[in-house]
Symmetry: C2
């Protein structure tokens, strides 16, 4: 059926209800009211361009015919604006909502970006590599914000190919993109120095994945050297550097494939099973540290008397644990806000500037103490 088949307005309304495939469009309304399509469009988008009376008539007619308003997709096509910010995650959405560090950051990002009529399009990743390139290619978005992807994530190639502006949070370093990160190396250094100055000499690392290959377990030197996650790399380096100041060189590392609490527990069990047993654990996140707390309790070790545990992030949970968690604070809210602002700037046509690096600080609580003289 072509528009020519429509003889009159009344007929059309009839046709509409009969023919379900045919939704009313701007043209339908224009025809019915007897004005042009442009005028109907103006009624919705520029009410000041026409008389109130005409506008009311148009809106009323639209309602009567069940016109749902200008189609968002068509509007996007015409305006060349998708009206959404895509957020690229390393893993499934599962992580987005269960990892507090990510949640808090995302929340802040969302409220920053939200001002305006923009939505937040979440693109879940697969296997720590980030979203599939095809997902990125099909996403209706004006700008991409990538969160903590490995150095060689194919998703980032897809973003570049689409030539949309990119904001990278944490990692990796992508030339030509805006970036906000935290002083991971410095934070790790602080944590290690804290333990060292407390007198610990046998310290182990409970860390994130070094490379997105799904491995979890003890990490040897080769894995550390070839790590493809910048954050993990920098934090390990910071830990080792800080421990090195105290002459500590032999540092076991357990690598959790994801920041999952259960894996943290498993890793801590392994590390605490080493002989001689470490007297302190450097955990790359509070969540991993929570797992470590659980493991310690299960092994009958008391924290911090038998084992000191230090986290990273300073998420709210760090204050609720027993004992409250000594940790490295990063400003997750600020990180999200900056990322959102950068996204808006890029949308406005700004060129990306140098990366923003947020500071970190040591928050001493009750999960660390000098080692007991055993």
């Amino acid at each position: 059926m072509t528009p020519r088949d429509l003889v009159g307005p009344a007929t059309y309304a009839c046709v509409v209800s009969h023919d379900r495939g045919r939704r009313p469009t701007l043209d339908t309304i224009a025809l019915e009211v007897g004005v042009s399509r442009a005028t109907v469009s103006n009624a919705y988008n520029r009410p000041d361009q026409l008389s109130t009376r005409l506008r009311d008539r148009i809106i009323a007619t639209a309602e009567r015919l069940g016109y749902p308003g200008p189609d968002p997709t068509a509007r996007s096509l015409a305006t060349q604006r998708a009206g959404a910010v895509a957020f690229l995650l390393g893993q499934g959405l599962s992580s987005a909502f269960s990892d507090p560090a990510l949640s808090i950051m995302l929340d802040s990002l969302a409220s920053t970006v939200d001002s305006g009529d923009r939505g937040l399009l979440l693109l879940p990743g697969v296997d720590d590599l980030g979203p599939r390139p095809s997902s990125v290619a099909r996403a209706q978005t004006d700008v991409a914000v990538a969160y903590s992807l490995p150095d060689d994530s194919p998703a980032l190639d897809a973003v570049r190919q689409r030539n949309i502006p990119l904001v990278v949070v944490d990692q990796p370093v992508v030339p030509g993109s805006a970036r906000v990160e935290v002083d991971d190396g410095g934070g790790a250094l602080l944590a290690a120095q804290h333990l060292g100055s407390l007198g610990h000499r046998r310290v182990a690392i409970l860390g994130f994945a070094l490379t997105p290959d799904g491995w979890h377990g003890p990490a040897d030197a080769a894995r550390v050297t070839s790590a493809r996650f910048r954050v993990s790399r920098d934090r390990v380096a910071g830990y080792l550097s800080g421990l090195g100041e105290f002459g500590i060189t032999d540092v076991p590392i357990w690598e959790a494939s994801c920041g999952d609490q259960l894996l943290g527990r498993e890793g801590a069990r392994w590390l605490l099973g080493l002989r001689p047993r470490p007297t302190a654990l450097l955990c790359m996140s509070d969540v991993l540290a929570l797992g470590a707390l659980t493991a310690a309790a299960e092994l009958g070790l008391s924290v911090p008397a038998d084992i000191s545990i230090i986290g990273f992030d300073d998420t709210p949970a760090a204050t609720w644990t027993t004992p409250p968690l000594t940790t490295i604070r990063q400003d997750l809210v600020e990180k999200g806000r900056r990322a959102g602002e950068l996204a808006l700037l890029l949308l406005d046509g700004s060129r990306p500037g140098p990366a923003t690096t947020l500071g970190v600080s040591l928050i001493p609580r009750a999960s660390t103490a000098p080692p007991s003289a055993d």
Copy 2:
């Protein structure tokens, strides 16, 4: 990083500027290769429709000219599919990521919906009312999933106006939509009966907002009667009904405008300041219960000796608290999965069936006990 990495983006920018802002489209490629637009489209979407050689030539040319692939918006316009599921929240995204019950559900929903090339479009709400109608009107989505909105949320009118399928999670009841909810009344009943059978006779309720007007503080009978959140209404009814079985009729209620832990603490302080002091608190969520635990500790009351506290949801945090929290379990993962499945079904053209109601159960832990004989 190799020098090549640095050159890549710059090179592309160069191509773009040559074209004087005119980005390549399907036509550009078609013209260059000397085939029709349709053939180029097929090269991307139906590789089997043309010879491998021609396809390779097309793809190569596309890459050479910096063609980013078929434009997602144009594709959506043509296919009449946005390729996204919109998720409507009552409040800002802040809540989405900080409320564990929501996070877990959303996570599950996301992974259900994720299979396929769909994204999840988050539409944050304002003032507990849900997203602004204009946000809904402009969202590029094929289906809407509304989470826990008040009975008269304007966002739902906007969804209906757009005539896109709707899945409602928890509340409200919207005719013509699919729905998944939990047995809120039954859960509340279980909680109240638990306390009653333990011997408690002075019980108070620490609850969610009854109406989206930002009020927090003591709730009188009028507010309860006119509540516009179904879940709050049903739970209060369930609580009162269960308590009624033990002859308890005078039940103070404190209403938290959001499920925030700080508000939970504030409410608990108020309730625990009443004289005679309640011996037990019915909390509408684990998060509120956490706040109550904090308040009790600050008031020097020990749980459960001085005060019994029962939560709702059975989020992971319930097991970590001191003492571990007695609570009502609802299957949040299942709830999300069902909601996702319903969304996919509706996308497939199915008609919404009757609402799915998920069961609840009492999880007794250590935060409830018989009242001390004071």
